[in-house]
Amino acid sequence: MDVDPSKILIRYNVQKEKAQTPEELAAEQYPKTEPAKSVYRAIFEGEEDDVVEGLKKAIDAGANAIKLIDDMLMPGMKVVTDLYDEGIIFLPNVMMSADAMLAGIEFCKEKSGSAPTPKGKVVCHVAEGDVHDIGKTIVAALLRAAGYEVVDLGRDVPVDEVVAAVKAEKPMMITGTALMTTTMYAFKEINDRLLEAGIKVPFQCGGGAVNQDFVETYELGVYGEEAAHAPQMADMILAGKGLEQLKDNFHMH
């Protein structure tokens, strides 16, 4: 016995696939000139050595090592994250590209002896009592890939520790992940403690157990459904958007 699957299901992922390959789509975004083009390609391919190789050439040709971070590494990485946001490439590609880009940043820092100013700082954590940390790891990786400095507090993080880190690090945004209905209440507590201390940092919360209704019950909370929403929200904060606008944008349900 067998069945004609087209009569009972649709593989929408196959149906929706673009005619062009991800490689072709990425190449369309590369600059025309070398060594920038090779650096972009090396980031896309996740080849650390080739990234460093290209950077070396640029520096030998007189480029400022720190400026290369903004001029080549960040835009090269943006090609990758844009393709991920559009659903054209997969997360492991982003992870490997981010590793290659970060290797490039380290190299530029070494060469110049100075540190670049990151776009902003984000504190990430998994709720107290919860060890489900893969979603958080993805969120942190995408934030780093987008050029943000991430203070990753890890998993099962006590409320006190989150509050202390926020006071010490003064981030532009906090993320929380919870996969259990029993642990997500810690977010509310963090919210209350921050407000008590007069701190009003947007607090994006996501993870399997968390839903928009719950996040709406505390002032600083913004619901984050997919990991990609974290860098998107950070970008909006950088662009001057306030809590209400963030909620407007991310509370889609």
């Binding site: 699957p5 593989r11 992922n13 054209i88 997969f90 997360l91 060890v131 893969i134 029993t182």
Partner: protein, 463 residues
Amino acid sequence: MTVKRYTEMAYTKADDMLFGNAKYPVKTKLGLEVGAGYVTAEVNYAPRPDTGQSKEKLVSEYRRLTTDIMARAVQIGFPSISLETEHVQQMTNNPTWGGEIAHVQKTIIEEYNEEYGIKCALRHTPGDIREERDYLALIGPKYDLLMESFEAVADGGADFLSIETMGGKEVLDYAILRNDMPGLIYSIGCLGSIDMTMIWQDIAKIAQKKGVIPAGDTDCSQANTAMFIAGGLLDKNLAHTLAIIARTISAARTLCGYEAGAKGPGKDCGYENTIVKSIAGVPIAQEGKSATCAHADVMGNLTMQCCDLWSNESVEYHGEFGGTSVQCWAQTLSMDAALMNVALNTGNGKLLRDMMMLSDRYRDPQGYILAYDNAWKVGNAIAKNGNDLYLRAKAAAAETVNLLNASKAEGKLQMSRFETNALADAEKAINALTDETDKFMSDMLAKYKSEIAVFKPEENYKF
């Protein structure tokens, strides 16, 4: 307990595998036979969050939900039922809590058994508490506490002992986000198997001492992590072709429990269980379309194909229009079971099996490989290499790639370019692997010791 690796298949051909039937059924003291010709519902539940604050509140929650389930089972006329209690952490960390809850549940179940003759089972699944905040602590004081918990629930009246062990998870979490094929084989197939072989000998010993059944494990912490990261058709976090390779490797790992003394029924969320059953012949629990209260996946009907217990994975205890949540799901599951039992009793078992299998076979690469005929082939590849943990995991991965590649000729399973590219990369990585176990183990040890800060091989795997 001695460990005996499987090198032969329990089923000589895939077509002999069928729901409600296992080569080696098990029987509880309250008369429930699993795998002996009929399917039974296994109801799973979680206490409401605020009841976790004290033992009294938890005990009362489990008393109520157990009574609810049993009452519904006799109201609708179901001949048998199994209950599974997956511990919340407090119940394992305080063995007397888990023990008392098992006792309270068993007392209720026994009353119903006595009054109505309904055949019953109670499974307890302590949480794998063997970790510190930042790293796994598989061996040491937490191990001892976990064993105490098993003793306590067995004393309390649990018929089946289960657990979802986490060995290898620290490496899997790293490898899975990097499409790292050797990492999957090492974390699931080697580290996971080493840990399971250790812990299941001890669980089997406790079960023997207490006269209960050491049931089985699931690779929830690794293969299900991969399945959830892979997500639905449109998600872009992991290719489904890689998720199914993680799954087939996990069959070689979950098998270790039975090699160390477990008898089944295997745990519901082990989607690798059809493969495991083909090799070990043990009864299995499965979940699928009637576990949508707990999660979404792409193979809701197919997983019924060879199940012996049919589960809803987990539902929070609360009210619904149709009764409490556990009553609703107990009824849904039992109705599914009734349909399967009609098929068995009218000689239509294999027909229904094939209909359920075909509804998901071409939905996704995961369903394609877990379809019982392909699952059997993967099982055969594992058994042929049964004596070597690394080689059998590698064989499972290689056979999965072969089957998916071969499917292209038939053209019924459509794969996206992402999925075929990931498959081609996986194939390359598998072909490049050594056949020497010692070399693989030492290479991987060196690699992940330097790349993963939380990997503590000496403490956790006695390397």
